[in-house]
Amino acid sequence: MEKILTKKSFSKWVKKLESYKIYAPVKNDDLWNYEIIDIPESIQPDYPNTVLSPKKIIFPQREIFLEFKASNEEGLEVKEILPEERPAIIFGVRPCDARALTLTDNVFKGDFEDPYYWKRRNQTILIGLTCNIPPSFDCFCLSVGGSPHSKDGLDILMTDLEDKYYIESLTKKGNQLINLAKDCFEEPKVMDKKDLEKIQANSEIQIKRQIKDIKKIPKKLKGMFDTPFWDKESLSCIQCGICTYLCPTCHCFDINDEVASSAPLKGKRVRTWDNCQFPDFTMHSSGHNPRPDKASRLRQRILHKFQYFVELYENFQCVGCGRCISKCPVGIDIIEVLDKVRDYGL
């Protein structure tokens, strides 16, 4: 379904969506992040990349699985905690961040479907916004199979045409939202369609950064596990968790029991994000650590995204949002690392 929504009608439409929990990019001090908002007046077309992607809504940093407490009769009373039942809409999702969720979907389905992830995923509607101008200097979505107007994972894609939005509804969920306020929308004219095509074509030209010959990289990486390359590339890495926590596709987690009281026993089992760049990520209970240094941890990050994930799901585990580049405290640039990988030994 394709429609036109004037900017004046935008808030009228959103008012009709009151029963949903609504998230949109919000600026606090100088930081942009997705937050729950009341009724957005409009969505600024030129907001930069949010620090955290909508990953934090679908796969929150802390998820309570269950509560437990000692009980006289049963020994231990266990209560499952599932995410709140409330449909949500995320406005202004960048096409790369939406694509990221389609990649993470692979991980949480299969032999075991993760009920926590899917509960949130299925009750969340993603409304994307074409990146007319790149939201970061480090965007490189085109190199990894995405684009500034990619529709992957989105329910609706909005494209800003100055005084109006071009609305492309891509799923049933998207159509439903539009049908809730039919009178807000108009049929697109031939000119609108032309404008859309022009803007979307132009949005691609604006992406300046790219990884050349990326197709060669997975195979190349396969032979590089035991090379000194990683020692050299990781020299400046400080082993913080910024690149992975900010990554819209990183999904590793840890499960811990948080004990509030030991007698009588009471506490929660929680899942939290975990991070392959931390020394305790692979620490065995024997005291042995198979990834003992930062070289092996940087290697893991690159190999997981550009070799293992490709072997498993035929896609790079990277959507080119550029967050790990812009926010790296020491300027490690994944594009530069991959360029060097491609040319290694040539």
């Binding site: 100088d30 020394p279 580049i325």
Partner: protein, 343 residues
């Protein structure tokens, strides 16, 4: 004015003569503006070295890595490591020497005086340019930065985009060095704790509200800890690893290991993490401001450490990082130390 050619000349000399095994300095990043740490091993690579207001990093943090790497090597290269330091960074070396974490003979210090200027705050610069990309930032020797963008050049008063710490700097000159670049220039500083005034004037409740809001943003990426040259503990209280585990440790002993901080980024756990760090930096932090610079969530961490610096000064007349022979604050006492807080 410091000339980068002079630094390159010395770097080339010490590498050629084999005086150092490598040099830790600055080179241009791939974004074309800011610098990144450079590890220069051969005289040919010296050409990559730069020195400009984007050289923000406190490179002494990499001396911690060097020590660890060396400890793992069977036949380590015993030559010193060359390291480029600004005044603030040089004070970190003093603390590391004082705590006997590094030895003087293991480092060759290329000290650079910031003279009348300092380094940039990239976030301030981005804000100033309203999202435009800067290509070059130069100091004009008259308290201004000249910023080159695609639209041309513009002049910005230095104070507006200098790093916060540079505005309260008391060590624009390296306190330790083997070779020095630039001159010693005295700088007037009325109040070294000026940035604290606003937050100190808040009521207790407001201060609590401020810190709760700030620390609730924390995603526990530990970048502040990871970038800090003073956070060199083998085992950090927030990590779940335990180096005390050996082949003989029983399952029960492992299970009973105390977990001081949960992984959850909740208010209480975030407070424990940041306050443990602040307390451990009291009398050690030299205000390089790296923790605040790297924070992806813009938490004003420098306030915490600055407050500790002020406490150390006011209670014990202690200044970190100026004298390697001074005992460290938390491992010494003097007869005249105040004790009125003991009740």
């Amino acid at each position: 004015m410091v000339k980068v050619e002079d630094i390159k000349k010395e770097a080339k000399r010490i590498l050629k003569e084999g005086k150092v095994k490598y040099i830790i300095g600055y080179k241009k990043s791939t974004n074309g503006l800011m610098s990144v740490p450079a590890f220069i091993e051969s005289p040919e690579d010296v050409e990559n070295l730069i020195w400009d207001p984007t050289c923000v990093y406190n490179l002494t943090r990499f001396l911690v890595d060097e020590k660890r790497r060396k400890a793992r090597e069977k036949n380590p290269d015993e030559r010193p490591v060359g390291i480029v330091v600004k005044g603030c960074d040089s004070r970190a070396i003093i603390v590391l020497l004082q705590e006997k974490f590094i030895n003087r003979e293991n480092i060759y210090v290329l000290g650079i005086s910031c003279e009348t200027t300092g380094v940039l705050d990239e976030k301030k610069l981005l804000k100033k340019l309203n999202g435009k990309k800067a290509e070059k930032v130069e100091y004009d020797e008259k308290d201004n930065f000249i910023i080159t963008t695609l639209d041309g050049k513009s002049k910005v008063p230095a104070d507006e985009i200098l790093a916060e710490r540079c505005l309260e700097c008391r060590a624009n000159f390296p306190v330790i060095n083997d070779i020095l670049f630039g001159e010693k220039v005295d700088r007037k500083l009325d109040n070294r704790f000026k940035s604290l005034e606003k937050i100190e004037s808040l009521s207790k409740e407001k201060r609590w509200g401020f810190w709760k809001e700030q620390l609730d943003k924390c995603i526990r990426c530990y970048a502040c800890r990871s970038v800090c040259p003073m956070c060199y503990c083998d085992e950090c209280v927030v990590d779940t690893i335990n180096f005390a585990v050996t082949a003989d440790t029983t399952a029960e002993e492992k299970a009973q290991r105390i977990k001081w901080v949960e992984k959850s980024p909740t208010t209480s756990e975030n407070f424990v993490y940041h306050f443990v760090r602040a307390i451990h930096l009291a009398g050690r932090c030299i205000d390089c401001g790296e923790c605040e610079r790297v924070c992806p969530m813009d938490i004003p961490l420098r306030f915490l450490n600055k407050k500790m610096e002020k406490e150390a000064k006011e209670l014990f007349d202690y200044d970190a990082g100026f004298d390697p022979d001074q005992p460290s604050l938390v491992s010494c006492f003097k007869d005249e130390d105040p004790e009125d807080f003991i009740r």
